[in-house]
Amino acid sequence: MNGEIGVDVQGVTKDFGSVRALEDVTLQVPRGEIFGLLGPNGSGKSTLIRILCGLLVPTAGRATVDGLDVEREGEQVRQHIGYVSQAFSLYRDLTVDENLDFFSSIYRLQGADRKERIEWVINLAHLGPYRDRLAGVLSGGWRQRLALAAALMHRPRVLFLDEPTAGIDPVARRELWDLLFELAAGGVTMFVTTHYMDEAERCGTVAYLYMSRLIVSGRPQALKALPEVTPEGTRRVEAACEEGVAKLMTSARTLPYVHAATIFGTSLHLLIDANVSDQKVEQDLQAFGITDVKVSPIEPSLEDVFVRLTETRGREIEAARPQVVQV
């Protein structure tokens, strides 16, 4: 039994008939850490979570959760995990209270203990005003909180959250993340999938799945420092201007020393030759008639990292894959 590893995935492969949803995925999540799993739609994130919850059996490889083998010790694993699935999957025809009551009794909580635990999750998720509402009529964000509350009922040691913040407003998202940090501080291991980069930045470790393969995994800072992300002889700068960022991009792409240009809101992230100064870039861009442009050095964002890595490692995977995709 390994006391420090919350989730351990070793060479997991999953096939659905001829579709390979996961290929040889290996990763570890230290106990009490928030682990963020990212990847495009259909890359296999939900599949991995479902394997770890014991809902699917991997075609190859093995996985442990809180030191317990998910295949052989499924019974015990289920005592200690919470799962919030991507689609709302509590009883829509039961009220918030009835749903929580049901899950509390499934986990064999009894008497005063049970009442106390229900109050605890209701407070955590701020569900107080909605106790008598049918789950089916709650708005998306409140449903999500209810699902989380139900998953926390038995104080799980590992929590699996499949896109818990999809479709939730920014304030609720922040609150939810505050809650996740609080739980992690209490020693709960958190396995979260998301499409939001700002959420990825908050994770202790992030991993990126691309076409069923894990192409990178590590601390956000470490990923940003990867040499592939900012190849030798290049550096990253941000070009900001008041308006006309689209024009800024088309202009920037004509400059010979610019390797990549991506729009971020009203500014542009550029990968340029390291020996070109900020002033030079600024002058060259002003020459296109964009007078208020400001150029300053930046470190790569996680999005830069993933975009760059899909370009490099992702291409390798695509090239290595036999092209027999026929429908």
């Binding site: 005592q79 999957s89 509590l90 009883y91 025809d93 009835e98 049901f102």
Partner: protein
């Protein structure tokens, strides 16, 4: 059986809240029962047209006897054979009687007197009953005639006794069988839906990550439906007894004690369906696939002896009948 109580309580809350289920289990069967209860399978008062060319006391007497059976009502006299045929073709009257001009003369002369009876064969139950009634009337008439002439009395007489249903009431036949069929439908579909609904909405997956035992899920979910089906049984048996006055001569206790066995087998069938079906629609179709043959081959619709299969196979086909309509029917009809 961890989680059984939780499942059971949750299922009851959901069941009582679900109008569709309650409607399906309680309102629709009652409605169908009433519909079937008022049906009279004996085709009585079949509209009949007559082309009487004899116009004699004898021909009048024959027609009266047709009417006396109460199977046929003479609705019109027509002036020609063509009009008779028109009446049948147009569907105005399924039976047409033509009496030739020499009918009375032939009778009086002791020769054979013919009567033409045309029957619309496109409705089988009407046709067979009309045929039987017509044959009976004519036979009776001929016999009477012979006996009157010879001054003898018939030497053999049949004394038929219709057991279990002396009045030949259709309700006494239809409703007990219908109870079994209604239960078959609602028992199977309700239990299939109960589980498929959880799969369709993803809640089954949520359950599977909790320590609840699979047996507790199945039993906890099905038990409330067993209760519902049992309540439905009691409701329609009561309706049958008090609204349609179908007598219960057998042991009611035995019926109430044994029927849960049948209900459990129905719920199990529903469970089997739900193990394959992904959506409620699919479950419905699969359940129909099971139920239609079991109803059609049960003897409720066609006589069992007419099934075009070997006796061995016949036995296997009649499970639904063996376990249902006769059990209900005979329990209800037989004395002790």
């Amino acid at each position: 059986m961890n989680g059984f109580v939780a499942m059971f309580r949750k299922e009851i809350t959901q069941m009582l809240r679900d109008r569709g289920t309650l409607l399906f289990a309680l309102v629709i069967p009652v409605f169908e029962l009433i519909l079937f209860g008022v049906i009279d399978m004996n085709a009585k008062h079949i509209p009949t047209v007559v082309f009487d060319q004899s116009h004699t006391q004898e021909s009048r007497r024959l027609l009266d006897q047709f009417e006396n059976t109460s199977y046929m009502d003479v609705i019109a006299e027509v002036p020609s054979r063509a009009a008779l045929e028109r009446a049948i073709v147009s569907g105005r009257a399924p039976v047409a009687i033509e009496i030739p001009p020499d009918y009375a003369r032939n009778l009086a002369a002791g020769r054979q007197a013919d009567v033409l009876i045309m029957i619309d064969g496109s409705d089988q139950s009407v046709a067979t009953q009309a045929l039987a009634a017509a044959n009976g009337v004519v036979l009776q008439q001929g016999l009477q005639d012979l006996l009157e002439k010879s001054g003898q009395r018939p030497r053999v007489e049949a004394h038929p006794v219709m057991m279990f249903n002396p009045d030949m009431r259709s309700a006494n036949l239809l409703i007990p069988g219908l109870i079994a069929i209604l239960l078959t439908f609602s028992g199977t579909i309700l239990s299939a839906f109960a589980i498929v609904k959880e799969r369709e909405r993803g809640t089954l997956e949520q359950l599977m990550v909790t320590p609840v035992s699979p047996l507790a899920v199945v039993v906890g979910k099905l038990l409330p439906y067993l209760g519902l089906a049992y309540f439905q049984l009691i409701l329609i048996v009561a309706l049958m007894r008090f609204l349609f006055r179908v007598p219960i001569n057998g042991s009611l206790t035995l019926l109430l004690v044994l029927s849960p066995i049948y209900l459990v087998s129905l719920l199990a069938l529903g469970l089997l369906v739900s193990s394959r079906a992904r959506t409620q629609m699919e479950a419905m179709q699969m359940a129909m696939g099971f139920m239609l043959p079991s109803v059609l081959l049960s003897g409720y619709v066609f006589p069992i002896t007419s099934l075009p299969v070997s006796p061995h196979c016949r036995c296997r086909c009649r499970w639904s009948r063996t376990f249902s309509p006769p059990r209900t029917s005979s329990r209800l009809r037989e004395g002790s």
